[in-house]
Symmetry: C3
């Protein structure tokens, strides 16, 4: 049975400049959890309506920061709070499919930290205004961006972005290497990302992609240990149907048809890393 | 009471091409310790006299390397030595304020490793000659630069800088991303850095800056653990007066007045990391 | 006695587009082990015949992936396999001399991951086609490249290279900072690399180079611990003959003659790190 491979678009919420509010965060978390599990999905594209005022204008702080906190977490004490932006970026980070951000409008605050940097590929409109202006608002960088950004583009640039809180575009030296493609108009961003996604959906192995993402982000602390890890990866994947198809298609110089799926063909050896429980243990259940 | 926010300039010692000698290292350590603690200080600018022969020409090795070692450390054995450049770069690294290097002259050896790379932002004269020529002198990279430089700009460039020991300018591909601004004349470097520093001193929260630097450099080893860390940061800062002022000023579209200080408003949860004792335990006290 | 300092060239195997097959991997491992130990060697250059169809066209998968596995490792179970590309990249990575890749032809798969990125400096022909197309073959990135590449050029670029599996040249934004020099013709690559290597062989200290590589790649997890490490390096090297010669030559403004060697003058304190055993413990001996 041929498998349909949709690229996915999160429905945007154009009200209030696409602020990160209401049910938007939970919807994105739920969507990426689902897209991670649905074997029919190979590549995910996240975008907004190109006519919306922004890709995502960040948190709505028009009435202060109280909306960040739930009554329950406040009652439980300072350890109980879990940042909403972080829930979103973790859901994206944990998605084992290829993820693509089509940033077709301004991306400020969590619009940058939570909805731009955690995806594997970033396409952007050249006029996009971006900022991580936390030091100018009396708050901290969130969405685990202080983990991701220095690893993505180095501590020199990441530190300059966070400590200046300045506004920059996708072609700024500050984010060199962060964007895969920069488009001249807002309308061109999603089609370019979608064409890129479709080509990858047709020609990449779902299991290979998952192993590759895990080796990159859940890898070892030394060359030697990584050698042991990727030897295991080669051993597990090398005997798979997708690898056999990869070799055959290469030899026969024909287009490829990968059929292995995460639910059926990902070995039980994953995860090999210690999974960290991010839930707070409540005082009373 | 309005708080005066000076940008700070270390008095340079123009003798001997600003070599890293005499009391200069101890003075810089003492200055950064003080600047870290003084609540009136928000941004620190380190520079030299633009008419001096160099920003810092490195250690004075005209009579060999003996001056590196104290008699006491030699007597205590090979574990007792503590590198002077490292004491300086650690003092700068530990400073919880924004730090800016105004590199208005040549920066060689520890002038590069100890007085340029450990600061948060680097401004430089385009004619600056820089080098980390340790392999060409029979010595090792110092000032913890083998930790900092690969993280700042990646191992490919850092390794090329250290293993070639070559001389380069701030616009060299070898240091792409390391310098925030490059100026055409020596005289323009400090004024540009100072204007940048003043804008940041006016518009950034002291507590936000400290949390941001800690999250970046004292962060966790995984996305999940960083999510727990920055959730705590959001919880602590989100209820602060600076955050409230940040939201109010944003809503009212007016300039901001942050008043929280490190001595009064930094929560007792910092440091959350294990502090490493760098002192040597002497055989006899 | 003046020491002859050869730059070394691995004999290439031009058959089958320089595929990574037959005895080539073992020969490279053996060569780098030897070059690491031979005190006469200061810099190693790895290259191919510029008339060969490729620098290295990757593994030969014309008859599937079975050739990856030995019968013995298959019998021992999934933990027993050790990736051949990883053995090569580890041998290069562990070599304590300066290593230079003269990539004078296409470098695909392990030609990129195993024979290009693990060397300290990379020279390339501007027409070189490179790719890490594992996700397009149903297999995983190998040769510990998922450890090395993100550290060399950041996770953003490394992830884009592995997850797209696309073909790129040495001047692509995807590998910015990875290549030390890019040459217009295949024939110019090796001479340029050799001239660079000879200059370094004449003017760098063998012990300094080894310490520098170890500090970079076997360093500590914090600034404080790195300060303790490099203080020890300064202490050990600072009293060496090479350091004395370094200071004398600098003072006398003459060319330098380093004489310390790894076998005679590297202190017993190396290695300071925990060495990881990468061999598989066989069920029966």
């Amino acid at each position: 049975m041929p498998i349909y491979r949709p690229a996915f678009m999160i429905p945007d919420i154009p009200c209030r400049r696409n602020t990160f509010a209401g049910t938007l965060p939970q919807e994105i978390v739920a969507a990426f959890d689902l897209l991670d599990r649905d074997d029919r999905v190979r590549v995910v594209v996240l975008t907004a309506d190109p006519k919306a005022p922004a890709y995502c204008a960040g948190a709505d702080i028009s009435s202060g920061w109280d909306s960040l906190f739930t009554k329950e977490s406040l009652k439980e004490g300072p350890q109980a709070h879990r940042d909403t932006g972080g829930k979103v970026s973790l859901a994206i980070y944990r998605c084992r499919k290829i993820t693509v951000a089509a940033v077709n409008g301004h991306a400020v605050g969590v619009g940058f930290t939570g909805l731009t940097i955690p995806l594997d590929f970033r396409f952007a409109w050249e006029g996009t205004k971006m900022a991580a202006p936390f030091v100018r608002r009396g708050i901290a960088p969130e969405a685990a961006s202080s983990y991701l950004l220095p690893r993505l583009i180095g501590y020199s640039r990441a530190s300059a972005i966070f400590l200046s809180g300045s506004t920059f575009g996708p072609d700024s030296p500050l984010v060199q290497g962060l964007f895969h493609q920069i488009l001249p108009s807002r309308e061109e961003v999603f089609p370019a990302a979608l064409a890129f996604a479709k080509e990858l959906a047709e020609n990449t192995s779902q299991t290979s992609v998952a192993w590759t993402k895990h080796l990159l982000w859940r890898g070892a602390d030394s060359m030697e240990e990584q050698h042991i890890l990727d030897s295991r990866a080669i051993r597990e994947l090398g005997m798979s149907e997708d690898a056999a198809e990869g070799a055959r298609a290469f030899k026969e110089r024909r287009s490829i048809k990968f059929t292995d799926t995460l639910s059926q063909n990902l070995t039980s050896w994953i995860p090999w890393w210690r999974e960290v429980d991010i839930n707070y243990r409540k005082a009373k259940l």
